[in-house]
Amino acid sequence: MAGAVADRSWRASTPEAIDADLAVLWRDVGRGETSVARAVMSNLIVFRSPASGGGDDMAALIAGAPVEEVAARHPSRVIVLEHCHGEAPRAPSAAAVGILTFGPPAARYGVELIVVRSACPEPSLLSILRRFVRGDIPTSIWWTEDISDAAPSGALLTVGRQLVFDSRRWRDVRRGAAAMAPLVRHHRVDLADVNWRRLAPLRRALTHARGPFQSGAWRSVEVGVSHAAEEAALAWLFFGWLRGQGVRCAEPTPMPQGAATAPENEGSSALLAVAIGDMHATLSPRGADVVCPEAPPLSVAAAVESEADAVAAELRSLAPDRVLAAALEAIVERFER
């Protein structure tokens, strides 16, 4: 089963000794009774703040993000970079390397994990990344922090083809949009928002119920959207999606207290509530439901996927998501007005 770690081999290392220590670990793994295939489909650079819990074992070093689960689903050379923002600049101070093995004995595969703690200035971070990424496979950057709080610099993004982030973490959508502005404008990397995936059932349901954007059905309408607490970013993505397609949409508003459950979604709290003329739609964790007077209700189920599933699915996608890019651009434009 993907996600179940069969074994963890790890050792403390230094940045200079990482390659040699990994080679030793692979040799050790190779001496075991079960053969282990090296699995590496991409470089996955995981940016994160230093682990708050402390501890030096591998589990502690990667706590806080489902790194192992993602590695199981999309085997990568995982490079966890703990960057200590605001500390006095200094060279990388600590490192660890590990090999996670997954799968049944007959089909066991191993994934490399490199953890580097650094407080060095950002330009020099690139030299760390260039050292450890393999050039013959795609490189993705997984930003596990709130981009509205700490955004990746353009220089850092030059090492990757894709930036995976989760706008659900944005505490402040306006600041998140400001942080996204240079990324959206310069198209340096493919943007992949895990939160965007949650919007998929609603997008599919509405385009099914109302027809494609090119049809006249969207031309004269004004769309309203309200959101549950903590789902402002999702509502703004919806706003951006429609604006990006040339549809008029009012700015998202918070839902009134206690108005979050649609009858057909009983037991499942609505995340978004949408009104398009006399058509009403809701998005809940179960999926999207559309109600309109002249047609039977319509439902689209949400895919059951964990955060690790969602991140892995984005990592496997090599084509840019142009619809998401247009949505983000619309959000950025709105907040820059």
Binding site: R27, R38, S124, L126, S127, I128, G135, D136, L318
Partner: protein, 490 residues
């Protein structure tokens, strides 16, 4: 057998030769009767030399010292102080060798390893002849090992080769290019000619281009004196990279005989299209590293390094677009690059096959499929991989490039022998396959000379710059990107 190492107290002996000989001893593959005699200017007792060797083995051997094995190995070590100047300079060495060989019951077969600066090659071999160290061909064995650089241009290489040829026959001369001793380089022949899948693809019909990258993370270090005179083209391209090119591009030899294989490698060197005059500016990029970062730490620029002139124009990076004008490779560019202070130490050859037609799965111009690439990793993490496009499991047709990856370390376990181990063993066995013949050395110089001449004409003009820790200058990227391709970082 007696191995006489001129420069036996030097850095090469300490870092490479003595650790290699120790590992061969541990493997039990050295001749049962053996003496290793270090020769150097600075006097040292035998015990001091053993301590010197032990320190080198402890620091640089791929295996830790085993006390019993070391004692037996150390017993074979001796040291003789000698100079190559003067008429009777090697007389003390001759007397000492006679004693050692007599005491140990050795036959007088000798290998002379010239681990000394190239300026001393000619005087040393002359002294060997004058001191009657080189018996007639029908007598005992006498072989000479010559380290690179063999000259700093075609003329000086010929002078050295002429001097050696006055004393030794070509079959007695072993010119080391240690890259040829690396397991993965030897495996190029096996991979190409022992597998039916690859060789039919190695030609202009299927290959789009070939890249060879030899990247060094280190700067000039303590070798500024040498490097200032050499530069990246002489230090890396003229020998290692052209030899790698020859291994990848050579025709199938009709046998594994050393000279047959060396003939085929030579043919490739002779087929390289000359780059001269203004063509040098269009096809060769040279650059020097400036200040930057390596692994998060600040690194000085080349001209700030100790021993480097502030106005130096020595290139620390070179990238070339090379054509091989033969039937097999016509129209297939070979992109070669090497540099110091690049992001990592890595040597890699990648053979990029032609793209599939832009239909079916490759129809979207905005999302072209990765071409199939065969990557041969020479160091570190020796092995090779083949990238192929595969469907991602699921209801949609989604394609992702995956790797078929072979790693020496985890496949065969243990550590691969160092290049010098293999090469020393070959010299002992008299196998010249992995050594450079005189004609190959001179063919490589002949090809390189017009580039050096052009740079000499232009001086600083055309010397690009790159920050330490980056993959070279923008001009290096432009060299390949102007053809619609891009460098594959190791």
């Amino acid at each position: 057998m007696t191995i006489v190492i001129f420069g036996g107290g030097g850095d090469l002996a300490r870092r490479k030769l003595l650790p290699a000989l120790y590992n061969l001893h541990v493997d039990g593959v050295l001749p049962p009767r053996l003496a290793i005699v270090g020769v150097g200017r600075r006097p040292m007792s035998d015990d001091e030399y053993r301590a010197f060797a032990k320190e080198g083995v402890e620091r640089f051997s791929r295996r830790p010292i085993d006390a019993r094995a070391w004692d037996a190995f150390a017993a074979a070590l001796s040291f003789v102080a000698a100079e190559v100047d003067g008429d009777r300079a090697l007389a003390p060495l001759g007397a000492r060798l006679d004693v050692i060989e007599h005491e140990r019951g050795l036959s007088g077969d000798r290998i002379y390893y010239l681990a000394i600066p190239p300026t001393l090659f000619a005087p040393t071999v002359k002294q060997l002849a004058r001191s009657r160290f080189v018996p007639p061909p029908e007598g005992t064995i006498a072989r000479v090992i010559v380290e690179k650089p063999i000259g700093r241009d075609l003329q000086s290489a010929r002078v050295i080769n002429d001097a050696i040829a006055e004393v030794f026959q070509e079959k007695q001369v072993y010119r080391i290019d240690h890259y040829l001793g690396k397991e993965t380089v030897q495996n190029i022949l096996v991979m190409r000619f022992a597998n039916s899948i690859f060789e039919p693809l190695f030609n202009q019909k299927y290959v789009d281009h070939v890249q060879i990258t030899v990247a060094e993370e280190e700067g000039v270090g303590t070798r500024a004196g040498y490097y200032e005179e050499a530069g990246a083209l002489r230090d890396m391209v003229q020998n290692h990279i052209l030899q790698l090119t020859a291994m990848v591009a050579m025709e199938p030899p009709h046998s594994l005989d050393a000279d047959v294989i060396r003939d085929e490698r030579l043919e490739v060197l002779k087929s390289l299209r000359p780059i001269a005059g203004a063509d040098v500016d269009a096809n060769v990029v040279r650059a020097q590293y400036g200040p930057g970062f390596i692994l998060g730490k600040a690194a000085p620029g080349y001209t700030q390094e100790s021993g480097v002139a502030p106005t130096s124009t020595t290139e620390t990076y070179v990238a070339l677009r090379v054509s091989i004008d033969n039937w097999r490779w016509a129209g297939v560019p070979f992109f070669l690059r090497t540099g110091k202070r690049l992001p990592k130490r890595a040597s890699e050859i990648s053979v990029h096959l032609k793209e599939v037609p832009p239909i079916l799965f490759n129809a979207d111009p905005g999302a072209r499929l990765d071409p199939t690439i065969l990557s041969i990793r020479i160091q570190p993490d020796e092995g090779f991989s083949l990238g192929i496009n595969s469907k991602v499991p699921g209801p949609h047709v989604q394609i992702y490039p995956v790797k078929m990856d072979f790693h020496y370390g985890s496949t065969f376990g243990g550590t691969s022998p160092e290049a010098y181990e293999r090469l020393l063993l070959d010299v002992i066995a008299g196998d010249t396959t992995l050594f450079m013949r005189r004609d190959a050395v001179e063919a490589a110089w002949q090809w390189v000379m017009p580039i050096l001449d052009r740079w000499a004409e232009r001086g600083r003009d055309g010397l690009a710059a790159y920050p330490a820790g980056e993959w070279g200058p923008a001009e290096g990227e432009a060299l390949i990107e102007s053809t619609g391709r891009r460098w594959l970082a190791p």
